[in-house]
């Protein structure tokens, strides 16, 4: 079979541009799959290694304060391996040259190291020396944001006293892979950071000598976590225990898991769609290319080649193209995964990122491509060999045109246009398949924009419609409304409103969730509750209203009861009916009428959050004044938060958009170039004849490319529609407890998606046109008859 193999190599070379464009389509399909799967596997592996190396705890508990001997009681519980009692606290930090209200979450470091959980991994500098009173190690995100490094100093207000602290190292910790500000859950390194300090020094500064207010526990293998949590809670409750949580509910770990879950969902949805699209195109294009070789297949058959041998020969062609695509896909996919990891590394602080390649899933992707390519070729070869060679070598009978009602319409246009229209309508399936391919290309670009547009819409709703305050001020404890009235008098503040947020644990049957109840008062103007339908949310005057996903996770509906356990003050417990599940769009929350909440808390109306409307010029001045007030825990500016959130989502989305635009351009080029090329090969005789009859090159190009134009025009519209649908599918990959994103697509995205495809189609057409311009008339006409 040596000569036949040589023919294979020559054919591949002759059709190299077509092969490359098809391989690119396959490559993009596989790349998106490989990138998503590998990025997920890499983050998971990096996380697992980090958690293991740094002795990440299994159970976490925070309490008001307890003497250290209580730790021994915890150690005596069954199934406990290590108990690390710590002192932690959030303290205002002053950084030289800045007026920002920055909070540092300072964690004590205990000795000896073997007894310590959640160990930090030092990235630069060194750990704090045992017993040193003023040394701290900073979290890497915080240090980088503020450009602090070993040798820098900062001041902190601990227990009302100003302490000067010396930065000796920068580190990462499994406890703060994602260091988010506790109130917003957003990573906000401009306002929130983590620091580590010697335990004795911190205990002394906070007045907790001989005590602890936080505990991390490592369990022995095979121990029931829930049971242990209940035992720990019963020991810590007298000391103001806020309820222990397992690793899955530890904020950073929870967020990392959520993001990983999201990545996994992304890997299971969009890339699967893309791989399907690529497989479909591979099938269609290869079967068309093999279709053009009908005469050669007949000749080889006449010469005595068996159907099996010919099938194998063309399968070789398909496999070569597919394999090229798979290689493209793997290379692009690994590059894609690495760029996703670069983005993730900015937010997920692991000491190092391991690259993992999930060989099994990737083998599946390659198999899908191979089956699609082989399938397309197989059916085309089958069709070609089904015809007796004598018939296949005979010039094809003139295609079966017949008069149709459309002819009346066609009679109205010029003969060249009539040729294009008749050709298109003679093979409607072929036309529709090509239009469908264009539609898929369009849909993929648009789908990539939907997520960004919808996130933009959420942010607009959140920060322009719902939260209209310029500043959000969180207070150390709840205060009477007098505090709000005073804030309204600060120069520059045009109005102030207070909100009462009560941290609670909700329980329904065996299910529990921790959240906060927000008291809703009549006439709140700076914070308007909005539903996903953009309309104001109505909160019932009696009972508790829950975000729908919260209600669903508790398994309750309107009319059911839930038990509320307040996680502050006297930790009172009460059972209330659920008034409604409401369709808000951000986070999981519980709402209650403000008056009812005060009544239930047994207090006069109070606030622990203040919303301020401030003249933009006065924001810095107002911030300075607020920061100096002792009752103020933190000050944030929603517009800045918004920028940060946008930056984080933005990085990932920009990477995604670029990949998707390239992918869809590859599809559009693959479809249009190959179709035009195949049409050119099949019709070169017609074209040469037309040219001899006196038609211009432009008219020839019109005949050749007119059908491609029809496909593109037919495909783009439905493609936009499908893209919107795929986009809304991609929104489902976002964790519903985090965001319920309303589908939003901007006009610019529609135009952009159409433009990417139209441009790609236009470029491919121009290339084929320049080939048709060089058509050798005599050679073509001499070739037969």
């Amino acid at each position: 079979m040596k000569t036949l193999q040589r023919k294979l190599v020559r054919d591949l070379w002759r059709l190299r541009y077509q092969c490359i464009t098809i391989a690119l389509v396959v490559g993009c399909g596989i790349a998106s799959f490989v990138a998503a799967v590998s990025a997920g596997a890499s983050v998971r592996a990096s996380r697992d290694v980090f958690y293991e190396d740094a002795h990440f705890a299994d159970v976490f508990a925070h309490l008001k304060a307890a003497p250290r001997p209580v730790l021994d009681r915890l150690r005596e519980l069954p199934g406990i391996a290590i108990v690390d009692g710590r002192v932690v606290g959030d303290y205002r930090v002053m950084i030289e040259g800045s007026d920002e209200a920055v909070v540092a979450h300072i964690v004590s470091v205990s000795w000896p190291e073997e007894a310590r959980l959640n160990r930090t991994i030092i990235q630069s500098g060194r750990p704090v020396e045992p017993g040193s009173p003023d040394e701290i190690v900073l979290s890497s995100t915080f240090a980088e944001t503020w450009n602090l490094m070993p040798g820098s100093t900062l001041k902190a207000v601990i227990n009302g006293r100003l302490a000067k602290l010396k930065v000796v190292g920068v580190a990462v910790s499994p406890e703060f892979v994602w260091a988010s500000e506790p109130r917003t859950g957003l990573p906000d390194p401009w306002h929130f950071g983590v620091a580590w300090m010697d335990r004795d020094a911190l205990s002394k500064a906070t007045g907790l000598v001989g005590g602890f207010n936080d505990v991390a526990i490592q369990l022995a293998v095979g121990v029931d976590e829930q049971e242990t949590i209940e035992r720990v809670d019963s020991i810590l409750e007298p000391y103001g225990g806020l309820g222990a949580v397992g690793r899955a509910d530890q904020p950073s770990s929870h967020l990392v898991d959520q993001k990983l879950g999201q990545l996994q969902k992304v890997a299971r949805t969009l890339p699967v769609v893309f791989l399907g699209v690529a497989a479909f195109l591979l099938h269609v294009l290869l079967s068309r290319i093999v279709g053009t070789q009908r005469e050669q297949i007949a000749t080889l058959k006449a010469l005595g080649y068996r159907t099996g041998e010919l099938t194998a020969h063309y399968l070789g062609f398909a496999l070569a193209v597919t394999a090229l695509g798979v290689v493209f896909g793997l290379v692009l996919g690994v590059l894609g995964a690495k760029s996703i990891l670069v983005v993730y590394a900015r937010y997920f602080r692991f000491p190092s990122y391991l690259f993992r390649f999930d060989a099994w899933t990737i083998a599946v992707a390659a198999c899908v491509a191979i089956v699609a390519g082989v399938g397309g070729t197989f059916s085309a070869v089958r069709r070609a060999v089904a015809i007796p060679p004598a018939e296949a070598m005979r010039p094809e009978a003139p295609p079966g045109y017949r008069r149709t009602p459309l002819d009346r319409v066609y009679a109205l246009v010029r003969p060249v246009s009539r040729m294009v229209l008749r050709d298109a309508s003679r093979r409607p399936w072929r036309l529709l398949l090509s239009a469908a391919s264009i539609a898929l290309a369009t849909s993929i670009v648009l789908a990539g924009s939907v997520m960004g547009d919808s996130v933009d819409e959420v942010l607009r709703l959140q920060f322009e419609v719902s939260h209209r305050e310029a500043m959000t001020v969180t207070l150390e404890d709840s205060r009477s409304w007098q505090a709000v009235r005073e804030a309204a008098h600060i120069p520059g503040v045009s109005s102030a409103e207070g909100e009462r947020q009560v941290p609670v644990r909700l329980r329904a049957g065996h299910r529990t969730r921790t959240t906060a109840i927000l008291g809703i008062a009549e006439g709140m103007d700076l914070h308007r509750l909005l539903g996903v339908d953009h309309h104001p949310l109505h909160v019932s005057a009696a009972g508790l209203s829950l975000s729908r996903p919260l209600g669903e996770s508790l398994g309750v509906q309107a009319g059911d009861d839930v038990d509320i356990e307040v996680l502050e003050a006297d930790r009172r417990k009460v059972r209330v009916p659920v008034a409604a599940l409401v369709d808000d769009f951000l986070g999981i929350a519980a709402y209650m009428d403000a008056a009812e909440l005060s009544h239930f808390m047994g207090e006069a109306p109070r606030a622990n959050v203040m919303l301020l409307a401030v003249d933009p010029h006065d924001i810095d001045e107002v911030t300075r004044r607020l920061v100096d007030l002792p009752a103020v825990a933190s000050v944030s500016r929603p517009s800045i938060d918004r920028g940060l959130e946008r930056a984080e989502e933005g990085d990932v989305l920009v990477v995604m958009r670029v990949i998707l635009a390239l992918f869809s351009a590859a599809i559009a080029v693959g479809v249009v170039y190959n179709n035009a090329r195949i049409a050119f090969e099949m019709r070169s005789r017609d074209l040469a004849t037309l040219r001899i009859l006196g038609f211009t090159r432009g008219e020839l190009a019109f005949v050749l490319l007119g059908e491609q134009a029809i496909q593109v025009v037919l495909g783009v519209g439905p493609g936009l529609y499908v893209g919107r649908a795929i986009g809304s599918l991609s929104l489902k990959t976002v964790d519903r407890e985090l965001l319920r994103i309303p589908l939003a697509v901007s006009p610019a995205s529609y135009v952009g998606a159409a433009c990417v495809v139209l441009l790609a189609a236009l470029l491919s057409s121009l290339v084929v046109r320049s080939q048709s311009d060089r058509l050798d008339l005599v050679a073509v006409l001499k070739a037969r008859d």
Binding site: K7, K301, L303, G304, R306, P388, P389
Partner: protein, 238 residues
Amino acid sequence: MNHERPTVIRARQLVKTYRMGEVEVQALRGVDFDLIQGELVVLLGPSGSGKSTLLNILGGLDVPTSGTLAYAGHDLSHPTEEALTQYRRAHIGFIFQFYNLIPSLTARENVALVADLAPKAMPPDDALDLVGLSARRDHYPSQMSGGEQQRVAIARAVVKRPDILLCDEPTGALDAATGRIVLEVLDRVNRDLETSIAVVTHNAPIAQMADRVVTLADGKIATDLGNPNRKAPSEVSW
């Protein structure tokens, strides 16, 4: 006709009907035909008389609608796909009017394509030597004249030493001088390798180099005459 030699192909009452676009064509209407070992038969007739259809059925490129066909006593009237392929592969060489060379292969490779299939094939270079094209063996079809391409096609047909060579208008696309060279090659193959040859043509003078001349008209055999004075191709003129 030389009746001492065995009959290699025997066809009886061949009928072939096929559709060409929307038209139904009755190409053969009951044809009886024998091909004797070592003879050179010319099939003459106007366009549409059925001569190419007959040739295609004899060569296993097409199957008859009805009638019987046997090669060396083996029935090929209702062949399986595999039997037809095996028949073409082992016994038949084809030469087409439009050469049907594989454009991506050189002259030598086009010949080797068939040599690869046949156990008793001659070296491809010998076959090219036979048609006088050794010097052009590394040229692609697009780099050769029509006559050269047809000679490559002949070399490709004879390289496997077929029992029967079937030629459909082998000179149809060539000028007289080039056509004569091609006919000389066919004549040499017939005499030197003792290959049975059937040539379809509507070029009547070619009949002068045949052992037997069969004329078809309207899907039937009109005449079947022996030629006692077979001429050399160089003596034929048209």
